[in-house]
């Protein structure tokens, strides 16, 4: 409900952070709990809605058939888009993509793409003629901070549940028929931190983001790789801080992955 950020809150968050505490009682390295709802959208090839604290994001996949790029005739592609809907917050406006939308979309995109979670060669239908393009778009429905991780978790869940449509002999999609699942080799997840009052905290809420000096996201995989990083906002980190966040991201990422798998099984 509260969308006017009080100076009071900002200074309180900063003060608490210095003592290693947070406004909502979480530990500095504690994610908010999340729930997933899968397959909400029947027209999508895969969809997932996440509720991370009060942040709500809906992600969906559409599979399309397209011509391959000339320099990679046997490879399909993925495309990630994000919209911070004006539904989600009084600050967001309808209109052409904002800088924030483009950044969050590109960071989530790189996290998945660069982890080689999806083998683009497996998306080839006929070399030089037709390949699959997996479009993942995610929408902020209610924004209370950390759309990066919410988008990443919902995005991954929608990829994991995505089905590949059947094609007829002219490579046209046959509606409501599927040839199998989209194959995912890894499970990359973003973990986002902010620096408040010189302290690092994970999974910031909306007011914590307002109090933050700098932001850092890193995508980690279950087999020990980092796939993408992004430092954002005006502040800076030193090397020790970055190393600390990377270490934490692997631990938190593993926990999140466990929760995600558990929720997907249900």
């Amino acid at each position: 409900m509260r969308q006017t950020v009080l100076e009071n809150d900002v200074s309180k968050i900063t003060e608490l952070a210095k003592q290693g505490k947070r406004l909502d009682g979480r530990a500095l390295d504690e994610m908010r709990d999340f729930t997933l709802e899968l397959g909400l959208c029947e027209n999508a090839e895969g969809s997932a809605k996440i509720r991370l604290g009060q942040t709500e994001v809906l992600a969906g996949i559409k599979m399309g058939v397209d011509k391959p790029y000339p320099d990679s005739p046997d490879e399909g592609a993925i495309s990630v888009g994000a919209e911070l809907l004006p539904l989600a917050h009084s600050e967001y406006e309808a209109g052409p993509p904002s800088f924030d939308e483009i950044e969050v979309a590109r960071v989530v995109d790189r996290g998945i793409r660069e982890s080689k979670a999806i083998d683009f060669a497996s998306l080839c239908i006929k070399e030089g003629e037709a390949v699959w393009v997996a479009f993942m778009d995610f929408y902020a429905i209610n924004a209370d901070g950390n759309l990066f991780d919410a988008g990443s978790i919902a995005g991954l869940a929608s990829f994991l549940s995505a089905k590949v449509p059947k094609l007829n002999d002219k490579n046209k999609i046959i509606k409501h028929e599927y040839s199998g699942k989209l194959e995912m080799k890894r499970m990359p997840l973003l973990t986002t931190f902010v620096k408040v009052g010189g302290k690092i905290m994970v999974d910031p809420t909306y007011v914590e983001e307002k109090a933050a000096e700098a932001r850092f996201s890193v995508s980690t995989t279950e087999d020990g790789y980092m796939a993408a990083m992004q430092k954002g906002m005006g502040g800076s980190f030193n090397v020790e801080e970055v190393n600390y966040m990377i270490d934490k991201a692997f631990i938190i990422g593993a926990e999140t992955r466990k929760k995600l798998i558990k929720q997907m099984k249900q």
């Binding site: 006017t4 009080l6 100076e7 009071n8 809150d9």
Partner: protein
Amino acid sequence: MKRIVIPGEMVSDQRKRLGGNVFVSDGKIYSKVLGISDESDEKASVIPLEGKYFPQAEDVVMGVVSRVVFAGYGININSFTESFIPRSAMREDLRVGDLVSSKISYVNELREAELGFPRRMFGGDVIEVTPVRTPRLIGKNGSMLELLKQGTGADIIVGKNGRVWARNGNLDLLRKVVMFINDNSYKSNLTNSVEAFFKAEGIQINIAPKGEKTNNAAEESEVLEANAEESEVLGGAESEELN
């Protein structure tokens, strides 16, 4: 008879004095909002359950500085228009996000509120509630507010615009009880149950004479009534005729 009505639902098919949040069409009285219908022999009104803050003279409100310009400060009072405090009215400089308590001195025909006696608030905590439900946090003659103060030991100011400011005392407990009252504002027996709750917590409550407590039902309807009256002033001109 009290019941939950939705916009456009008939409150009464008889000619009556119009209270707040109702309109007349074809001689019948309908509700303008989602609320509780409050109908007596001579008057029909609706107490709203949801909604933004309608500024009104004499209300104590909690504003947040949203804009700083040369001449003064733009203040968000949770209403649909911004208020303004000239720089000369404040002793110290304000910054965006600062909290200011004030009493509304005048509301013009565009429903812009003029803020009198602005005071910057230091420290404390703000609990946001649904503005139309704040009368229940105050209670008749401030009985609920007194109860909250005693139960939690906090200094509390209820901004009519849905921002409850509190300092010292057990703020965690206060937040929970305030949210409880907010969520159940439309129910009866609220004061008694909150009081009993504090007592069960082992907190000493020492409130006004007994007579008033037992007379809870009457108290509540009066509080609700007061709320409806308020909006009547606002609705005033428009509620007369429609369509």
